[in-house]
């Protein structure tokens, strides 16, 4: 896909998105008009600003046809396969990590993600990888769970129970 095509698709996509926003506001029964003596209703702000978004998207599409913008003249690929592979792997790995958080909990997910990135993509030594992973997990636990008293997600009950053991230890002996 060339940058030129991407520009058009983005313009149309954002136009549709803006129209969906307007439709949502309208069908939710919010007042999009003027209330006498009180000024604008609750729907005025989102409705008319979404209309503005729709109009600027139309403007972008018109400029695409007239080839005004640099992007609409650019025939180079929108996605360059070489550096993009790295971007794609990083994003997929990140998505997998967030998904794993809901199953195995924050700490195991973080360790797997960091370990994968450093060992497989970065080709760091096992020693370096393990030191960084363990350091990161302890750092996050200490800073967020301990100092900021945030309860980070622990995943399914079986993993959560395992973790409670560590938490109990902290409350019993370290506080």
């Amino acid at each position: 896909m060339s940058t030129r095509t991407a520009e058009l698709l983005a313009g149309i996509g954002l136009l549709v998105f803006s129209l969906v926003l307007m439709w949502t506001v309208y069908t939710d029964g919010l007042t999009i008009g003027w209330v006498d003596g009180r000024g604008p209703g609750a729907g005025v702000w989102p409705f008319w600003l979404s209309l503005g978004m729709a109009l600027t998207s139309v403007w972008t599409v018109v400029r695409w046809f007239r080839k005004t913008t640099a992007e609409s003249r650019n025939e180079a690929p929108y996605i360059d396969s070489d550096p993009f592979a790295l971007v794609a792997i990083s994003f997929v790995a990140l998505t997998a990590m967030i998904f794993l958080v809901t199953i195995v909990g924050t700490y195991i997910a973080i360790a797997l993600f960091l370990g994968f990135y450093m060992r497989v993509i970065g080709k760091h030594s096992w020693r370096m990888t393990l030191v960084t992973v363990i350091g990161a997990v302890i750092f996050i636990y200490f800073l967020f769970e301990w100092q900021l008293t945030k309860y980070l997600p622990k995943g399914l009950p079986i993993f959560e129970d395992g973790f409670l053991w560590i938490d109990n230890f902290r409350w019993e002996y370290l506080m």
């Binding site: 209703g41 979404s50 972008t60 990140l94 967030i98 450093m118 760091h124 900021l148």
Partner: protein
């Protein structure tokens, strides 16, 4: 004047309290590091680290983030000079002469000039800040909702008139931010708005931090991975004491352009759309124009390093002026700081000076102290930071992603927001590839609720009369802001017209 002096004295004392002073050092170190890493700038650092600052009281938190802000301005120069890649967009102009100097083997001279110029820029602008802030805040105390709304319109107009990005895309970005800010319960009628797919999670709205971390954490890292592929080459730097003394003697060479760049940077920095990047580019142009030897620019002229570095530091301080006094951020970084202040339970704007003098003057005092700390740390640790730059992206990238995830979750306690951050980050990255500017959207989502409220309050108090915003008798300041805003929005139209005219003149013989 005497009152300001005593308040400033108290602020300076506050800056030396152990916790606050520790925050200055930690912030400067973090800023130097983040600024030096290619692809990460002050805005990324402030967005990613804001959740961590809930650990300390608000004054210490803002001192940390402010120190990080100008630390990053210093740090940007390190990679501009040694790698030839700007460490942040604010250090782009530093590459022009910093890189040639490094290639000639003068890297340490360039680094030192950058550090000293940053110090001069920071100091001049903090003095200007101290002089301008109290009267501006006092003036702003008289502002009603009409003036507030008109000021915000003016802030957005600066993006259209001066932002320099594609105009329809800039407007789209602003409007998208404003609409995202409207998701959730309406503040006046209490009705739920834009609850997509009937998901109850949207009732709480889209937090600005979710968007900011999505865009400046996830999106920015993806962008950097694509641009650099993780490959960088470092020019060698080593410093000896004798060279250090010799370099100090160079200062008078670039002192005049540096001072000029500092004042320019401060005023450009106060404009919401302009900020440190254009300020440094303008200062570079100015230094070149006033130079006796303009041809040497771009080939390693030391003034070409000093002027933009002074300007970007001055601009970072300048951008805090409207944030503290008017509640309108002067840059994307200060937009995130402003959002943070709301989370800390403070109300940004003129009342801050009256209600939270400790906070305001503690911040101002810390800026004086942080300037000294940063220049000292910078000069002492340049070799260390240069080595840090060799840190492979395969460690930095996953660590930043992890911090983004934990930071968002720790702030909102919802996995829903983490997923939203991921989607917004990817969307921001894809749109940025098509030259959609992302900064206006972040500013808009922070200012959106305030803008809508002030607009509707004005209209309720005037019983639905729209002319209340331009009433020359009751709201002259609002009128002036609206006129300025319209002028700014028409400015690109005028530029286009003039360019067309020039082309016609060029065509006709």
């Amino acid at each position: 004047m005497g009152e300001i002096a005593s308040l400033l004295g108290a602020g300076l004392l506050q800056a030396f309290e152990p916790l606050n002073f520790g925050m200055i050092i930690a912030g400067c170190m973090a800023g130097l590091f983040i600024g030096a890493m290619p692809g990460l700038g002050s805005v990324n650092g402030v967005a990613i680290l804001l959740p961590v600052t809930f650990l300390v009281p608000p004054t210490a938190a803002i001192i940390f983030l402010a120190a990080l802000y100008y630390g990053a301005m210093y740090g940007g120069a390190i990679s501009s000079i040694t790698l030839g890649i700007p460490g942040a967009s604010t250090a782009v102009a530093t590459v022009f002469d910093g890189r040639p100097m490094a290639q000639k083997g003068l890297a340490n001279q360039a680094l030192m000039a950058a550090a000293v110029a940053s110090f001069i820029g920071g100091t001049i602008s903090i003095v200007l800040f101290t002089l301008f802030a109290p009267p501006l805040a006092e003036l702003a105390l008289k502002f009603g909702s009409q003036e507030e709304f008109a000021l915000m319109v003016l802030a957005f107009a600066t993006f259209i008139g001066l932002g320099g990005d594609d105009i329809p895309k800039t407007i789209f970005s602003i409007l998208l931010g404003l609409v995202m800010a409207a998701v959730g319960f309406d503040i006046i009628s209490g009705q739920p708005r834009l609850i997509f797919f009937d998901m109850v999670e949207f009732q709480r709205g889209i937090g600005f931090l979710v968007l900011a971390i999505g865009i400046y954490g996830i999106g920015e890292m993806l962008w950097t991975l694509e641009k650099t592929g993780g490959k960088v080459k470092i020019e060698n730097v080593k410093t000896t004491l004798a060279e250090f003394k010799e370099n100090l003697g160079q200062i008078k060479k670039y002192l005049p352009t540096t001072s000029l760049g500092s004042a320019l940077g401060f005023f450009v920095g106060t404009l919401p759309a302009a900020g440190a990047t254009p300020a440094s580019l303008m200062a570079y142009g100015l230094a070149k124009t006033f130079s006796k030897d303009p041809d040497s620019f771009g080939k390693g002229n030391i003034s070409g390093v000093a002027a933009p570095e002074a300007a970007n530091n001055a601009a970072s301080t300048g951008s805090m002026l409207p944030m503290i006094t008017l509640g309108i951020p002067g840059s994307p970084t200060t937009a995130i700081l402003l959002g943070g202040m709301i989370i800390w339970g403070l109300r940004p704007g003129p009342l801050l000076f009256a209600n939270n003098p400790d906070f305001v003057w503690g911040l101002i005092g810390s800026m004086y102290v942080a300037n000294f700390v940063t220049v000292a740390l910078n000069l002492a640790l340049i070799p260390l930071f240069v080595r840090v730059l060799a840190m492979p992206f395969t460690i930095l990238t996953p660590v930043i992603f992890i911090l983004c995830f934990v930071g968002v979750f720790a702030t909102t306690d919802r996995m829903f927001d983490v997923w939203l951050m991921l989607i917004l980050g990817l969307g921001g990255y894809l749109l940025r590839k098509l030259n959609y500017p992302v900064a206006p959207a972040v500013l808009a989502i922070v200012l959106g609720p305030l803008a809508e409220r002030s607009m509707r309050q004005s209209l309720i108090s005037s019983r639905g009369d729209v002319t209340t915003f331009v009433n020359p008798v009751e709201h002259p300041i609002a009128l002036i802001c609206i006129i300025l805003a319209i002028a700014l929005m028409l400015y690109p139209v005028y530029l286009g017209y003039r360019r067309k005219k020039e082309r016609e003149v060029a065509k006709s013989p």
